[in-house]
Every structure is written in C-alpha cells, then in structure tokens.
C-alpha cells in the first residue's frame, strides 16, 4: 500500500473509533439523543452533560495519551536501539507514578503534582541510562534493569499506600491503574502547555531518530550531533511520559504494541513511523478504553488493565516466537 493511503486509512480508523467511543459507554444513550446533544446542547439536559462533560473530554484524553505513549515508545526504541524499550518497560511510567503518589499523599494537587510526576520520570530515565552506561549493556539487560526498576518503584508506591489513609488510597489506586475517565481542568492545562509542544518537537525528529538508530558514530558521520539530539529527545519524552502519567496514570505497553505493528505497515523509517504510530496509538487507546467500559458493564475496568494484558501477551509471544536474529 502507498503511504498516503495508509495514513488515510489510519485517519478513518481513528474517526471510526471516536464515533464508537461517543456512541457507547457506561450509560446507554440512543444515537439520536447523542447527535441532538452534540449539535444543539441544552443546559441541564442529561445527555448533553454526559456527552460534553464526560465522553468528549474522555475521547480527547485517550487520543492524546495514546498518541503520546506510542510516540514515546518509538523514540525510546530508536535512541536506545532496542525494539523492546518503551516508557513502561523502562520504568519511566513507574517513576512518574511514584512522584504522583507522593504528591497525592502530601496533599498536593494541580501543578505541584505534575512537577512531581515530571521529576519522577526524569529520575528513573536517568537511573536506567546511568546503569546502562556503566557497562556496555545488551538490549535484554537494559530492559531487565528497566523492569526491575519498575518493580522497585511500584513497591515504593505500595509502601506509601500501606501507610497512607484509606481515602487517599482508593482514588490513587484507580488512577494508577490507568484511568482516562476524569481529566480535570488541570489535566487539560498539562496537555496544552507541556505535552502538546513536546509532542510537536518530537514529531519533527524523524530524521534524527533515523540517524540515532544507526548509533552515535554513524550519526556523527552523517553530520548529526548525537549527544545534543539524544539529550533533547530524552528530556522531551520523559516529560511527555510524566505528563501522561499525571493525566491518566500508568497505561503500559501502548508504546510497545503500536510501533511494532506500524513497522510492519509503514516501515521502519522514523519520518513515517512517528506520525503513523501517533495516529494508531490514539485509535488503539480509544478502542481499549471503550472496551474497558463495555466488557463488564456496569463495572468499568481501568484501561491500563486492558493494555497491560494485551501488551503482556504480545511481549511473551514476541520473546518466545521471534527469531533473535530477526529481532535485532
């Protein structure tokens, strides 16, 4: 398939997923009512409130977080030259979550909490890369240290939960498992002022990632400055991940599944892989979120549970079936 056709198809899939998410959800509403509420919202109308205050913000959040996580996956994979790297497997998400949990327990909300999330992700990226640069690590060891860091940080989160008051714990647990349902006005501000601009910067980094994926030396010989490029991109992706955690908790494996699928479809060239993964990441998270609301209705599952199961299965199959020489 030619690339414009692929992008058109991805856009259509995204539109379809949005429509599906709008029409279905925890509460049954008829499509006629929903259209009515969309076009002529009347104040006080229940359907209008549901559509404008719950479903649409939720759709927007899922799209942005999905695109952001997929993009972060692509960037981490290219920079670390490791097809299994992504915010979740590297422990970056867990770092953000620890920051956020601390903030919640300390009674911080809004900007201070977001800053704690950012700090948490930045620190865990530095730790993983620090470990990796101590010795020349193989790609598996890098992922292993990321996963171990992730365990460590999750245990710290559990520790904080176990000594905190129960009221804080429940809301934190729901959120930490991945929750797109209640992006407050604070979350919207995070998206607009930090996540969006950083995503835009990263979107333009296709050719830098192409070079970096060939290694630092080859980057130099193609006229690029690997240290500067890596520095900017790592800070940007850690902050994007931190922002995503602040908005919606830990949603794992989006950055692993989506780029792998897209490499099969648009190819490995990062100039195309980044935008296609962003589009597909939005659709993927949106569909997962819709599914999480429908599967056990009226109980709503955290979306992180769905992506975690899908991603975990994918990870296992990938390690078990793929010929190592093909992986790398």
């Amino acid at each position: 398939m030619k690339h414009p056709a692929v992008f058109l198809l991805l856009a259509l899939i995204l539109l379809a997923s949005m429509a599906l998410a709008l029409l279905t959800g925890g509460t049954s509403l008829t499509s006629a009512h929903i259209f009515e509420a969309l076009i002529r919202p009347e104040p006080g109308d229940l359907t209008a409130t549901l559509v404008w205050e719950l479903r649409l913000p939720r759709i927007a959040t899922a799209c942005i977080v999905g695109a952001a996580l997929a993009q972060c996956g692509v960037v981490f994979q290219a920079i670390l030259r490791n097809p299994l790297a992504e915010p979740y497997t590297l422990g970056v998400s867990a770092g953000g979550a620890l920051g956020a949990t601390l903030a919640i327990i300390l009674g911080l909300a809004g900007l201070p909490m977001v800053v704690m999330c950012f700090a948490g992700s930045m620190i865990s990226v530095s730790v993983v890369l620090g470990i990796a640069s101590l010795r020349q690590f193989s790609s598996t060891t890098l992922i292993l240290s990321g996963v171990i860091l992730s365990f460590l940080l999750s245990s710290l989160v559990m520790f904080i939960f176990s000594v905190a008051s129960s009221r804080d714990v429940h809301s934190s647990i729901m959120w930490i498992m991945g929750d797109l349902s209640s992006p407050g006005p604070g979350a919207m501000r995070i998206m607009i002022f930090t996540v969006f601009p950083l995503m835009a910067v990263t979107l333009c980094a296709g050719r830098d990632l192409n070079m970096l994926s060939l290694g630092d030396e080859k980057t130099y010989h193609l006229g690029g400055n690997a240290r500067v490029m890596k520095g900017i991109l790592l800070v940007a992706t850690s902050l994007i991940t931190g922002g995503c955690v602040a908005i919606s908790g830990i949603i794992g494996f989006v950055g692993l599944l989506v780029p792998h699928l897209m490499r099969k479809i648009t190819g490995a060239d990062h100039r195309l892989l980044i935008p296609s993964s962003m589009l597909a990441g939005s659709s993927f998270l949106l569909l997962c979120d819709t599914f999480s609301q429908l599967v056990l209705r009226p109980i709503e599952l955290p979306v992180g549970v769905i992506t975690g199961m899908l991603g975990g299965l994918f990870f296992l199959v990938y390690i078990a079936l793929v010929n190592p020489s093909e992986v790398i």
Binding site: L214, Y220, H221, L222, G223, G224, A268, D269
Partner: protein
C-alpha cells in the same frame, strides 16, 4: 596533492595513548591501505582522521583545513565513513537506509528532492543493488549488506571515503568485487579511498600506497613493493613468510609458512 594529512597525531582513550606521533599524507585520488596486527591502533587512527576523536597532540588536515575547525555537517558532505560492522536494529529497506546518506546535504525541514532520489537510484544501480531496493536489511547476506553500507556512504557524494575492514566476513568473490568497485570509483570519480585491510595480498593487489602500523606507530609507509617485504612483515607479524611477485600484476604476494611462528623470547 595532499587530501588528508595527519601531523604528529597522538591519541587514545581515557589516560592510555593508543597511537603515538603518527604522521601521514594521503594524496588525492588514490587507494590508501592501512595494515597492521590487531591492536596496532588502526581504528583509533581512523577515528582521528574522520574527526570523531580529537587528537591529544598534533592535528589532522582535511583538504587544507584543520579538521577541528570544520563543522561536522561540512565534513559529512565531503567525507563518508563506513564502519567495520554496523548493527541496524530496525528493518529499514535498502532504499530508506541508503537515502539517509543525503541527510548532510539537506536541512531538517527541506524535504528530500528529486535530485536526492536520482542520486540514490544511480548509486544503487552502480553497486548492482537496484533490485534489492525494497528488501529489508535483515534479509540480506553479508556481501550485500557491505555493498548497501558503501551505497549509503556514496550517496553522501563524498570526495573521501574511509572504510574500516570492508572485506572482513566477505568471500573472495565479494572481496574482489568490492575492491574493483573502489578502484573504479577512484578512476572514474576521482575518489580518495582510505581502507583498513587485514588481507595483505588484497592490500598489495589494490592499494597505491600502504601504511603498516604496529604498536600505535607507522612502521613503514609507501608503495606495496616498498612496504611488503619479508623482513618487515616477519618483524611486525612474528610469522615466517615468503614474498614473491605475483605473475600477473607483478605486485608482492605473500606466502605464509605454517607452523613457523617466530615469537620473540
């Protein structure tokens, strides 16, 4: 005319110097071979010549400019470096990979032009890779991969190519094929090619000038006849050998004598 010159270059990693006081002149439009035992400092010298490693002492001159004063993108527009082994973790197609050679000539936001694509096509054609254009790198054999790496370097349209052991892991037909190609590039396009080689006979058959390195110094430098003598090579490689003239090109040909390792006591 000198194209690339090293002047009293001393360099290394950490606190240990690997190469000491190396001076050499690479003339324009030639095949320049660097040979020597493992650990002689060939790759370190190469890193200095390409500007990625800064010499502790001395300097490297590229086309009359101190390489330290040239921005890396300017260097990349004029010189290509093909490392010994490139590990590419992602399934790029041959065309995508080779197209990256045009990056030094294009700004981030200026799209690759028709001219860039023509250059890529021409290069692939020349290296007999056009039919592999849409194949993924992972599906290619060692010899094909080496040609793809060369193709990426050539799409930079360089005047100088540095190649670190391009014939390692290649069978004899791919070795000859690759070296013939480099010879053609020298003759037709006036390229300067500097290569690290392990196969002394290949070096002898193809190189205009050979520099023999040992323990971080240039031990001998000059034409193959001058450098590849039994006395010199036995001293450096600690192996018994016989040097004859090859009957066709009358260049030195080295025969190793098995079981005659002459380890110094």
């Amino acid at each position: 005319m000198t194209h690339l010159r090293a002047e009293h270059v001393t360099a290394g990693y950490g606190k240990t110097p690997v190469i000491h006081d190396i001076s050499l002149d690479v003339p324009r439009t030639c095949l320049y071979g660097i040979i020597g035992p493992n650990g002689a400092g060939k790759t370190t010298l190469f890193k200095c010549l390409s500007g990625i490693l800064k010499p502790w002492e001395g300097s490297v001159w590229f086309g009359g400019n101190d390489i330290r004063t040239l921005p890396r993108r300017k260097i990349a527009q004029r010189a290509a470096y093909i490392p010994q082994f490139q590990w590419v973790p992602f399934p790029y197609t041959v065309e995508e990979f080779v197209l990256m050679g045009r990056y030094p000539h294009r700004d981030r936001f200026s799209a690759l032009t028709r001219k860039d694509r023509t250059i890529v096509e021409e290069t692939l054609e020349m290296l007999d890779l056009l039919r592999y254009k849409d194949r993924r790198l992972q599906s290619l054999s060692g010899g094909e991969l080496q040609r793809v790496f060369l193709a990426q370097g050539l799409t930079q349209r360089p005047e100088l190519i540095l190649m670190d052991e391009p014939t390692a892991h290649l069978d004899i037909s791919h070795q000859v094929n690759l070296l013939d190609m480099l010879k053609l590039l020298r003759d037709e396009y006036g390229l300067t090619v500097v290569l690290i080689l392990h196969d002394l006979n290949i070096a002898s058959a193809y190189c205009d000038t050979i520099a023999l390195m040992s323990s971080g110094r240039v031990h001998a430098c000059g034409s193959p006849e001058h450098v590849l003598t039994a006395t010199t090579l036995e001293e450096i490689y600690q192996v018994r050998l016989v040097v004859e003239r090859d009957p066709l090109a009358s260049r030195p040909h080295i025969f190793f004598v098995p079981g005659k390792h002459t380890q110094k006591r």
